[in-house]
């Protein structure tokens, strides 16, 4: 990461890759300092780079490769954070990231690298997606589900037969407040689903903003479904219990709609 910062300052656009999410920890200081480069130099210097970083659960979990913990990068000023849920979005976001002047954490979910729900036709050489523009996966009136990454496919599956707005944020920094708030003001109920652990996960930030901005429109408490505050378990059985499953998501949706 330090070498990439130097290359970036020299005018290149480096794309370092950290395999996997957990191994970004030794680079914490250099990552953090890269984010503040423009601010510290009053915009005379910039260190744009795209840090590709696979993570999240796969066929089995573990405390290292399977972490998501994207919220750490959201919390470091200067970084943009992309968490695509499919190949087309990844293409558009990656191209935008490569053309920008800011460092970007590009989170590549392990479970989506070759998953049917993530496969898309190549959208073309000119396909660009702006950061901070969510995708509305499905439209409905019973509730709003806000999610990203590998949880998008599970939320789609869990809400089959129900009338739900499913919003795939696509990027967490910046995130699309307008789309989320417009939806919640209409459905009046919101469930946030993420793979990262619950306490101080990015869902906490979403819930706080929704409560602040849409308070008078809420007919139920903003709900969160996330991994308990434990490391991602090795065993597939435990993993099914810990990571929000289609069944857990469905149950939480029904509870919230009935509130």
């Amino acid at each position: 990461v330090g070498r990439a910062a130097g290359m970036a300052l020299a005018g290149l656009m480096p794309v370092p890759e950290i395999q996997f999410r957990k191994y970004a920890e030794p680079a914490t200081e250099q990552l953090n300092d890269t984010g503040t480069m423009r601010w510290r130099s009053n915009n005379r210097f910039a260190a744009p780079m795209v840090v590709r970083m696979p993570g999240g659960f796969s066929k089995s979990g573990d405390p290292w490769h399977s972490q998501t913990n994207e919220v750490v990068f959201v919390h470091q000023p200067g970084w943009l954070v992309a968490v695509p849920s499919n190949a087309a979005d990844a293409t558009g976001l990656l191209r935008t990231a490569l053309r920008g002047n800011d460092p970007v954490i590009f989170f590549e979910h392990r479970a989506l690298l070759d998953h049917p729900s993530a496969r898309r036709p190549y959208p073309g050489d000119e396909f660009l997606l702006p950061f901070g523009q969510a995708r509305t996966v499905s439209r409905g009136d019973a509730l709003t589900i806000v999610t990203w990454g590998a949880m998008v496919m599970r939320c789609e599956e869990a809400s089959k037969g129900l009338s739900a707005d499913i919003i795939d944020l696509r990027t967490l920094m910046p995130w699309d407040q307008e789309t989320v708030l417009t939806s919640v003001r209409r459905t009046r109920r919101c469930l946030i689903v993420h793979e990262d652990t619950r306490t101080a996960g990015f869902g906490a930030e979403l819930a706080a903003v929704i409560a602040e901005e849409a308070f008078l429109d809420l007919d139920a408490p903003v709900a969160r479904l996330a991994m308990p505050d434990i490391p991602s378990p090795h065993g597939p059985g435990f993993m099914e219990f810990a990571i929000p499953s289609v069944g857990l998501i469905r149950a939480r949706i029904e509870e919230l709609v009935a509130f």
Binding site: R188, F215, L216, D217, L218, D219, A220, A258, F259
Partner: protein, 363 residues
């Protein structure tokens, strides 16, 4: 098991179950009120025939309950199996003020609908935003309100009366100066209604046929003036509690009866005998501002009905010491609507002349 029955002798032809006051499994003492029945005229309570546990409810809310119908069954206290757990009366849930979400409260302010009055479809009966939105839409739309037992009975009685009796209305004006002076001088002033009842009872002597009932072959003249008072129950309709043998009662006694009956009428606590046996009716429509209502429909099978307009100060011309003078007097229109089969204008006017004379010469 002991049967809980609708009383065989119930006032009014049909009754409906208004509410069960106990739940199944709840312990009751003998004579505890169990069920409320609503007839066209009164609300009745059916009490427990014995002590025990309410075992079955066979006629639930809004079901028709004819005389002698089986309402439910009671397991008597004596046959509760030994060793069975003591029938714990289900404690009523602690009353908590309902709490509403921001979305519901916002809608309540915008629509003016009180969410506390809505049945909720949310978890635990919570009123949801969808509930209040639906109520708001319903309030803005035309609605259909099913007739209550009382409304149906009023409709049938009014239609029958107009179809049966040729109505004729005669109108006098009564000067209330003497009555109002008497009231002012009283330590415990009687209501004006009491004066009107007393004067009506006295006026029967001038025209006894007003206090009568038409039969195909003869006229039945009543010795007692049992005078009913139309008592409005708001949108629910009206009831007519009766002051029996008013001709034997003093003003103070009449006033006490009126106060008692109207209070119980508004509380829905009239007994069947309170509304039975009327021979004449007074409609005091003036209390709600009406100057004159014509015709007031006769309360069948009676022969006449008295309408009293609002008492108000009006300018009138009186001859005082041989000279005309413009005076301000408390006046009200009084009307007698008669069944023209029974009597003619002559008796109606004699009656009204006597009635106003009693009021105007009250001492």
């Amino acid at each position: 098991l002991i049967d809980i029955l609708v009383p065989a002798e119930q006032e009014g032809s049909t009754a409906t179950v208004r509410a069960w006051l106990k739940n199944i499994g709840e312990a009751v003492a003998a004579n505890d009120p169990l069920v409320e029945l609503e007839t066209d005229k009164v609300t009745l309570e059916v009490s427990a025939p014995a002590a025990g546990i309410l075992e079955e409810i066979l006629l639930s809310r809004d079901a028709a309950a004819g005389p002698g119908a089986l309402l439910g069954r009671l397991r008597p206290a004596a046959v509760i199996p030994a060793g069975a757990p003591a029938p714990a009366a289900v404690p009523p849930p602690a009353p908590t003020a309902p709490r509403f979400s921001p979305a519901v409260r916002t809608a309540a302010i915008a629509s003016g609908i009180d969410p506390a009055r809505l049945p909720g479809t949310g978890a635990g009966g919570r009123v949801t935003r969808a509930d209040i939105d639906a109520a708001s839409r319903a309030a803005a739309a035309d609605s259909r309100i099913p007739h209550s037992t009382m409304r149906r009975q009023i409709a049938a009685a009014m239609t029958r009366s107009v179809a049966t009796a040729p109505h004729v209305t005669s109108i006098f004006e009564a000067d209330m100066s003497a009555v109002l002076a008497h009231r002012r001088a009283s330590a415990a002033p009687a209501t004006l209604t009491a004066y009107f009842i007393a004067a009506a009872a006295a006026a029967m002597r001038a025209a006894p046929a007003i206090n009568s009932r038409w039969h195909d072959e003869h006229l039945e003249l009543f010795a007692d003036a049992n005078i009913g008072i139309g008592t409005a129950l708001g949108d629910a309709g009206l009831v007519v509690p009766v002051i029996h043998r008013a001709q034997t009662l003093s003003l103070v006694e009449i006033a006490a009866r009126v106060a008692d009956l109207t209070a119980r009428a508004r509380a829905g606590r009239l007994a069947p005998e309170d509304v039975r046996g009327g021979t004449f009716t007074i409609s005091n429509h003036g209390v709600s501002g009406s100057l004159l209502a014509a015709p007031v429909i006769i309360n069948q099978p009676q022969s006449a009905i008295l309408g009293i307009g609002k008492v108000e100060k009006r300018v009138t011309v009186r001859e005082i010491d041989g000279a005309d003078a413009i005076q301000i007097r408390p006046l009200c229109y009084v009307s007698l609507t008669i069944d023209h089969r029974v009597v003619d204008g002559f008796q109606a006017n004699s009656w009204l002349a006597a009635f106003t004379k009693v009021l105007e010469s009250w001492k």
